[in-house]
């Protein structure tokens, strides 16, 4: 498009002005220095179908809500009755602790696996790979069933040299305690995913960083702690937040162990007695939603903390755009923000 150029050319010729005036143009050829460019006043493009779809969706939603409010099967009065029931809130507490313990275990084991996979030693590498292959390649439900019956396979769990007095004997209570079994089962499974997240984070840090740190006489541990891991965190945190949210929901699968003191287990237990499954499902869902919403808000602030010194904060206009998106839309899974930082030179 050479339009502005031709404008200027016309203006340069004394006689050309009148001709250019006849042409139907939005702006006249004028030097930008003289005055700010005229704002464009135009009728915006209409999108009638978008509006139609929006109206239909709102109508559909309204019909569903009004209908649901009247349907006796939903048992709204039961929802109100059980939502703050002591048994339910205690069970919610159990679910929360299951999530916390399992995630702590998963992060610790995952970090070890990630370091093993990045090790130059081929045996360590292969063992980590094998672990991830097995635990990521089988369903968590199946794994939980297995951990539930592992106390039958190994009635006594000991550590030591074969045919000698064992060094450590794991008390039988560990694997017959269903809560501990559930935490172990969930953590071992999640560790496989966490190790991949941690590995991606560590690999995302430029090699020059480790080199510079080494050249400053810092040890491997110091380099990791003060240089590599803090930078890896901004890649690790967003997907880890997603994993925490996912874990919170996965805890409902501990029924496979079978552990039934968690949020879903208890609400099922109550409904088995009262024959009101739907209100109790709603109650459990509301609690899960409450937790996941709180976690999303927390994740947003942690992400902000770890993006210090990145280009994002540089220009001042940027921070408003991508970061708050996940919290603004509760209920949708937070998009993996990690990709935002991925392309570094």
């Amino acid at each position: 498009m050479s339009e502005p150029e031709s404008d200027r050319m016309i203006e340069a010729e004394p006689g050309g002005n009148r001709e250019s005036g006849r042409k139907p143009r939005a702006g006249r050829g004028r030097d930008a220095d003289d005055a700010p460019p005229e704002a464009i006043v135009a009728i915006p493009l209409r999108h009638p179908w978008r509006n139609v779809v929006a109206v239909l969706l709102v109508l559909g939603l309204a019909v569903f809500v009004l209908d649901a409010a009247q349907r006796s099967d939903y048992g709204w009065s039961d929802v109100g009755k059980y939502i703050f029931d002591r048994r339910i809130s205690q069970a919610a507490w159990v679910t929360l602790w299951l999530t916390i313990y399992a995630m702590i275990g998963a992060i610790v084991i995952g970090l070890l696996l990630a370091i093993m996979r990045l090790s130059p030693n081929p045996v360590l590498k292969s063992i980590a790979w094998l672990y991830i292959w097995i635990f990521r390649g089988t369903p968590v439900y199946v794994q939980l069933v297995f951990w539930g019956i592992v106390s039958l396979i190994y009635p006594v769990f000991t550590l030591g040299i074969p045919f000698m007095e064992p060094w450590v004997t794991v008390p039988n209570e560990v694997f017959t305690n269903l809560f501990i079994t559930a935490v172990i089962g969930l953590a071992l499974n999640e560790a496989a995913y966490m190790s991949e997240i941690v590995r991606a984070g560590l690999l995302s840090v430029d090699e020059g960083q480790e080199e510079a740190s080494t050249a400053l006489a810092m040890s491997w541990g110091q380099t990791m702690r003060y240089v590599v891991v803090p930078q890896a965190m901004k890649i690790i945190i967003p997907p880890t937040g997603n994993e925490v949210i996912s874990m919170l929901k996965t805890t409902s699968l501990v029924a496979a162990i079978p552990l039934s003191i968690d949020l879903y287990g208890v609400s099922r237990g109550i409904s088995a007695v009262t024959f009101t499954p739907v209100p109790l499902l709603i109650v459990a869902s509301l609690w899960y939603l409450l937790f996941t919403s709180v976690l999303m808000v927390g994740q947003h602030f942690i992400e902000k903390r770890f993006s210090r010194g990145t280009g994002r904060l540089k220009t001042g206009k940027e921070p408003a755009t991508p970061a708050p998106a996940p919290t603004a839309v509760p209920g949708t899974p937070a998009p993996p923000l990690g990709t935002d930082f991925g392309g570094k030179g």
Partner: protein, 255 residues
Amino acid sequence: MTDAPMVLAERVSKNFGTNKVLRGISLEVDAGEVLCIVGPSGSGKSTFLRCINHLERVDGGRLSVDGQLVGYRQKGDKLYELKLKEAAFQRQEIGMVFQRFNLFPHLTAVENIILAPMRVKGLSKAKATARAMELLERVGLADKGDAYPAHLSGGQQQRVAIARALAMDPKLMLFDEPTSALDPELVGEVLDVMKELAKSGMTMIVVTHEMGFAREVADTLVFMDEGVVVEAGPPRQILSDPQHDRTKAFLSKVL
């Protein structure tokens, strides 16, 4: 060890697999001397520099800094590879500046400078910070202490990187093409800092393409090609009257 040269390389060789990167480099750098290494890319200049602070393992020959063998310990007639801790201890006396600065992006300029003095030398934060401010002033960035690397220009980043290396009070500074990643108008400010450093008596080994800097500052200029030292001597002599054909060919392209 005042008699020993600061850096003594005797037939140093280094292979990456079957690729012989260094094929017997021998040279000496005395304390207070500035040595510039020039040569075409792939000639092994950077690898040699990285061998000096044991970022790369030397495969053959002997390389010592201030009388101490780099990366190995000699016991009788056997060589033992140094433990990671011992190698780190050796590096304390050797500062290094990289082509791509390699500042820590999550730390401010001051935090970049005080990290190693605090963690490696155990300096208090107050002491390390005071020293960092001194060094920032020396490189002309006294007002940029709180800036993150992303907010600094390339030249400013490289000057912070120089200050960071100086904060460990090194006896020897290595510069690996310190101005190659910079926009042309920012090269001068970094070279000025390096000139000042050379004047203050720092022993420096500089891999560079800046012939003007080499001519002005270097005591010795080394031309390397294909893993060997082709020619070495006073910079003026080498730049104006190169003896070797390969040197002539290279200089005709860059001058």
